[in-house]
Amino acid sequence: MLISLNWLKKYVDVKVSDEELVRLIGARLVEVEGVIDESTKYNNIVVVRVESAEKIPDTHLTLCQVNDGNAELTQVVCGAPNVREGMLAVWIKPGAIVPASVREDAPFVIGKRKMLGKYDSDGMLAGADELDFGDDHSGIVEIDPDAAKPGDALADIFELNDKILEIENKSLTHRPDTFGIIGFAREVAGILGQKFEAADVSELGVLRSAAARELAPSAHGDGPDGRGPEADTAGAIKIMIKDSNICKRYSVVILQKHGEIKKKYLTWQDTILSKSGMRPVDPIVDATNYLMLLTGQPLHAFDYDKFVAVGGSDKPVINVRLAKNGEKLILLDDKEIELNENDIVICSNDIPVALAGAMGGKSTAIDENTRNIILESATFSLYNLRKTQMAHGIFSEAITRFTKGQPAYQTLAVAEKCAEMLKDGFEIACMADEYPEPAKENVVYVSEAEINGLLGTKYDNNLIRTTLENVGFKVAGDFEVKAPAWRTDIHIKEDVIEEVGRLLGYDNIEPTLPLHGTASENMMFALKSRVRNIMERFGANEVLTYSFVSEKLLEKANLDIKNSYKIVNSISPDLQLVRQTIVPSLLDKAFVNQKIPFDEFAIYEMNKVYQKEWGMDAENVPVEKMRMGMVLAERKTKGAAYYKAKYYVEKLLAELNIESEFKILKSDVAEAKPFEKKRAAEIYTDGELIGFVGEFKNKVRNNFKLNEYLAGFELDFDKILEKAKPTREVNIVSEKEKRDLTVSTDKTYGELVAKIKDVLVKNNVEAKISPISIYQPDNSEIKNISVHLEFLQKIDDSLMRELEQI
């Protein structure tokens, strides 16, 4: 939303600098995303009188002598068809920038030129498009002689020396009332500590009088009694609202043509529409747009006679209902849309003629032949309109306002104001207003103590009262707070406390620290932190990878894609499935790094994973597990990478005081799937499976285009957390006895170690066993395994002899 500071200042007396005003709006109302400074945009652009205009033969050009208030006339060649002697036009002086181009990379500077080789032309007479007041390029702009004289700066006449605020709409989602300049100004007054008074009563007079006036109900049912001259003339209009949840209030004013609206001159309203991001189009559309910017209430105009013809009745029957699936409607922009059951439609009798809140239909569009108008001013369910917006992709200024939930209190008054603005061409034939369940006044009770208690402030009773009253709240007692009709968002104490805190400035609240208790450590975070330190020491690199992966990635890693939760609105197919395990993502990153190239590395990640197989937990959300994955890769083809991965996991677990045992890989769970069973293992502790380690299937390795030296592991961190111990018993003995032992065997290393342990137990001695080497001659089944034994006590040689016999 764009807010013109000059327009704003018409409604509130701003005594602070613009910088301070912008800061205060930011701190107390809404984020100001930017300030567009237009204070020099119309420099050197002045009003001139065309003193003479001579057609240049055989061209469309006119040779003009213009008077800019100085004694000397200036010659300008003009190509516009409407240039004529005596008119007031807008002259862009040589050296000035064309306003429509000021924000372009290379703004267009007007110069002095020779036209057709002989006519000097200084500067240019400007059209509306060049002045950035719309797209009209049919002629030059004409200025009302009652409003200006030659030499007047254009900026002075229309208050164009302005700053435009770019407002971030999102943080006003709950404040539909601020989507009109009046509501915005009311807030600014409140922020500045002033009571909001309209600066220009003519702007607001109608709103006040209409709100105070009793209106006849519409012809719904038996028809009204026709009180007053402006009330509905017995049954002239029938409004039917199927369900007041979709439309709280529907007001119409019927206008009858009695003359032409002459639009000859550039108006202040044109400039306001432009500064607010809209475009002047024609008098009727401009009036409705202007009022929307002023009050936040969108309006729509139907051609009365077309409306009646479509419905086939002699008087308009307006029917507001939900569309039926499959119903069709051709919109104003000629597009035919298929409606669905969430769309609200305005029907003539039962035939849809407009998509409520979004766009009018073609069949009832006003045009230059329109004699009578149905002017609609209504509110619609923001929930339905939001769906309409999404389903049909309509994002207009009007629907932006409707989807905030416009209050219903002012619909008729705004339509009436519109009628007044169009009075040169139209007069009110009748009005109708269907408002089945008028909104109730919201009353909230809140005390000074509650306000200060929640904010941590010491605001006194009077300050609180005035602050609320400044923006239209009625405050009685200590405090009964009545919300004004436009504040449909005030329901509970906290809503009122927010108003007080915000309007007086959150920045004025003193930051204080409450006394705090003691917290206990989160064990999983502590574990991960510990692992991070250990792994860094081990020369490994921690990575983070996306939680979403592609079907292709899972297939490459030999995983079943059906075991993944699938994102239906993913950014790309690469991010469609929720990952089941960590390792596949690491294989992907291993490729990236091997290509850079890094010759050797071990990358790991600790993160959460989900598998459909695991089902739901007690809260009925998917079971989640914390996992650690690691992949190590080298740019070489020789060697059994399995043992390096095993070494990493074994040592890591040892640091966490977890004993590990490696068993043949048999499992077929998702975590095990990328691994080659002949060169991978299941990791156990205390008889429980806690992970997998090993090399990957040939197919997997090839799919990821990785070199042969490749292995990894995946650990169940929920189990690790259970098993990890913070400390271990340390046995320090002064006299250790160290021996080396070599045994020839056809058994596995594990079996050999088990045997050694048996012997030690039998002899009642303890020793730490660590490997030295494994030697296996070519073509032999027998290996020579050497281990180092560190005894915690003295032993005699007979034990060694016994061990050598194994």
Partner: protein, 318 residues
């Protein structure tokens, strides 16, 4: 091996059948071609399968209990100097430690959640346009990879409610990974980290909230900071604020250069009610902000995409 030979012969036969196509009536050629193609593909798949099986059969089994392969050296770690920790994770640890020292318990946020926790329990009216602002992903089942760590507020309140019964406060922070359906560029990621804070007691104030947040940021950036707020809108807090800090000089900031660090506010009574806490008796405040941004500012990083890149050129800097 024999099987592979057989399959290859079969493939050859099929290939030779293609030449027969010229003897077939033109209207039947299409059908003939499709049939041959189908058979050919079947054979090719079988060949691939057999070849793979052969390749797998060649795989030498290892003694998985051994420390190394026969005649190979015992494995060692890579050079300690090559090791690195992920900056987001180490900084997250710092964040957690600071909050812990201020008396906050720590929970980790979920990475797949439901509509109830993401929106309903946070006082978002059903189908309210405010839900659109979060650009959420959804699964086929309607589950949501959370777009904010606030998805944990209801759980945190319930889990620590007993503190209130024991006359203590609820003070908990909830870091975690969150997701937004938005295009990625140097300052936007669809996957990032946030940290939520929840505080409930009988008499806490907005002043306390501002105090705690200022304290946190001053501890995190290890210096005094200027703070600022602006009104915001979140259905789950009332009043709602955006919290800003003035970019410290030491990090290249200029005076008046305020950065939005997080959203915060006093917990909406409905949110307390939905967790079984009586809003007449207790009130609280909550906040949530991005960790990525915090860390980028600290290290002067310009491109958020590095964090999830897995690129060792970047990671080895930390």
């Amino acid at each position: 091996m024999q099987e592979l030979e057989k399959l290859k012969v079969e493939l050859k036969n099929i290939n030779s059948e293609y030449s027969k196509i010229k003897d077939i009536a033109p209207e039947k050629r299409g059908e003939f071609g499709r049939e041959i193609n189908a058979r050919k593909n079947e054979i090719l798949a079988k060949i691939a399968e057999v070849e793979e099986a052969l390749l797998d059969a060649e795989v030498e089994p290892l003694d998985i209990t051994a420390p190394c392969a026969p005649n190979e050296k015992l494995p060692t770690f890579y050079d300690t100097l090559a090791g690195s920790e992920h900056p987001l994770m180490t900084e997250l640890d710092r964040v957690i430690n600071i909050y812990q020292s201020m008396g906050f318990d720590v929970m980790e946020s979920r990475q797949l959640d439901d509509e109830y926790h993401m929106f309903d329990s946070l006082n978002f009216p059903k189908e309210h346009p405010a839900r659109d602002g979060y650009d959420t992903f959804r699964t086929e089942e309607g589950l949501i990879p959370p777009a904010h760590t606030s998805t944990m507020q209801n759980r945190a309140l319930k889990r620590f409610k007993h503190n209130l019964d024991e006359g203590k406060n609820i003070a908990v922070v909830i870091p975690g990974r969150v997701y937004r359906n938005e295009d990625v560029d140097a300052t936007h990621e669809h996957t990032f980290y946030q940290c939520e804070g929840v505080y409930v007691s009988k008499d806490c104030t907005m002043g306390n909230m501002l105090g705690i947040l200022r304290e946190f940021f001053e501890k995190y950036y290890e210096q005094k900071l200027n703070i600022r707020t602006q009104p915001g809108y979140f259905p789950f807090t009332e009043p709602s604020l955006e919290f800003m800090i003035e970019k410290p000089k030491s990090l290249g900031g200029k005076k008046g250069d305020f950065l939005e660090m997080l959203g915060c506010g006093m917990i909406h009574p409905n949110v307390l009610k939905m967790a079984g806490i009586n809003p007449e008796e207790y009130h609280g405040f909550a906040w949530g902000g991005g960790i990525d941004r915090l860390v980028m500012l600290r290290f002067g990083l310009k491109d958020v995409r590095n964090f999830e890149s897995g690129n060792l050129n970047f990671l080895k800097e930390f």
